[in-house]
Symmetry: C2
Subunit: 307 residues, 2 copies
């Protein structure tokens, strides 16, 4: 097959059925794929229920680090997904904690610049945390603030309480090259209601990378680790797995990086035009952002599942 | 002359005299060149005095944006430099204000993430400023905080009171492509006493560049603007100007970018070994960081000046 013609296939009738027959595992991104904010994508709860009924294994893979897994279970339940278990949810917060405990085997404390979802996952994983609570003595500056000699890793995620002092302390910790430098995810920004945006973990990470002259190990999509994290618990065959997402540069690239089949759904950020641009590009790297399949919505699974 | 043999010349006797005869303007960086913290480099005040006595024009060109020019005059005086005038001092704060007023001719307010030195220079230049004073109503979030429709530029510098909210607001302002995006200087970090570091303007700028998907126009060295700012007021001939600095990647590159002769002094950050590495490099870009001349200290000027 010519390189230029691969990808962006709109599945019809029996093709969808054949794809489902070939795959045993379906990985869904959350925001923009199965819900938008507090509204489930129409048909999404039924799709998840029917996939499981057909014996498929379903996983949820999200770069969003703001909630611990137990809160995700509550949200799934609230939006009508009745059979989603904590074990099926892989967030960048959970996977960062797993990385620190099981891969890096960090022997010491982690200095965390992130939200409570990350702190909670680290605590659940038994990883000791140094959390900045902003109750410093008056007159504390970067010149005289205490630095904990037991800190062996710095983890950056989404943090609405980010300050110069946190950035400065983290920079000082990272002067020791034995201290690990991790980021939950690379997301540069997130859309908000009313056309505003909010800086993402990737923005805060960029500040710390510049100040420390180091590069962070990024846990979230598109890096391979979140797939490895699932595979370590569920013995996944990449060839029999499908990644469904709404962002070409994270979800689809993640699928390509891990050897999965990929499907773009148009209920979120990326558009068919953007996918086509990647397809028309001459760059091999950009080709990795081209989805194998495109659907309007994951509700398109229903026809194949209800037969 | 073979490309590899140019630069890093240690001047001896009459060579120093010849260089001084050929140059009419001497530009000094401050930190690490004429002083370190609150201590003048030995002989520096005498060098400045004698250069002026010989009819040379002397300028001070610093990326440090923390002080307004009037405070620099006080510091010069305090450290024994008795004849330095405000007009001879070009800081990234002063030059940013000049750029906004004279080059960008900004018609509206500037949202400033920086220290008081920058605010003061903008006010002195008559540029309207929106300054974040941290007195927001309780419950104010990035979802509901007021955004000023008159903001036409965002300026980022060194800011020890940097917060997530400032970053988020600036990101929202920069969604409008008509809003200018400026940074005082690119310095990634600064050394502190006791082996610590503090994040520089470049670190905060990196966060905002990532969150806004835009690139800042950087005013400080090594970009050419600070030289253009001096030249617009003093009619400088680059061929008759010498730039003296302690950092290869800012001071020396700045001199190269502006067509000046360049001199590295070893009383600050960069070393002779680092200069030699750039000289040995095959990359043309790296060659621009090779100084024409190297001195142990600017006190080496004295012998040539006292004759």
């Amino acid at each position: 097959m010519a390189g230029g013609s691969r990808g962006c296939v709109t599945l019809r009738g029996s093709q969808f059925q054949e794809l489902l027959d070939a795959k045993h595992n379906v990985l869904f991104d959350c925001d923009g794929v199965i819900w938008n904010g507090e509204t489930a994508v129409t048909g999404a709860p039924e799709v998840v229920r029917l996939l499981k009924q057909r014996g498929k294994r379903v996983f949820f893979v999200t770069n969003n680090c703001t909630r611990p897994r137990e809160n995700y279970v509550q949200k799934f339940s609230r939006l009508g997904f009745t059979e989603v278990a904590e074990e099926e949810i892989f967030s960048s917060a959970y996977c960062s904690a797993a990385y620190l405990r099981d891969v890096a085997k960090v022997q010491g404390k982690v200095y965390v610049i992130a939200c409570s979802g990350v702190i909670k996952e680290l605590q659940d994983a038994g990883v000791p945390v140094v959390e900045e609570v902003g109750d410093e003595e008056p007159g504390t500056t970067i010149y005289n603030c205490p630095l904990d000699p037991d800190v062996k890793a710095v983890l950056v995620g989404y943090d609405e309480n980010f300050t110069f002092m946190k950035l400065a302390k983290a920079s000082c910790y990272l002067m020791n090259s034995d201290v690990l430098f991790l980021a939950t995810d690379p997301d540069p920004w997130h859309p908000l209601r009313g056309g505003r945006i909010t800086p993402g973990s990737g923005s805060l990470t960029a500040a710390l990378e510049t100040a420390s002259s180091r590069k962070a190990t990024v846990i979230g999509k598109p890096s391979r680790f979140m797939f490895e994290c699932i595979a370590s618990q569920f013995d996944l065959d990449p060839a029999r797995s499908l990644m469904v997402g709404d962002r070409l540069e994270t979800d689809i690239l993640f699928g390509s990086n891990c050897g999965l089949s990929t499907m773009l759904t148009l209920t979120g950020v990326s558009t068919m035009e953007e996918a086509q641009k990647y397809k028309d590009s001459e760059s091999l790297e950009r080709k990795d952002c081209v989805p194998d399949y495109v659907v309007e919505s994951i509700a398109d699974f229903l026809e194949a599942l209800e037969e």
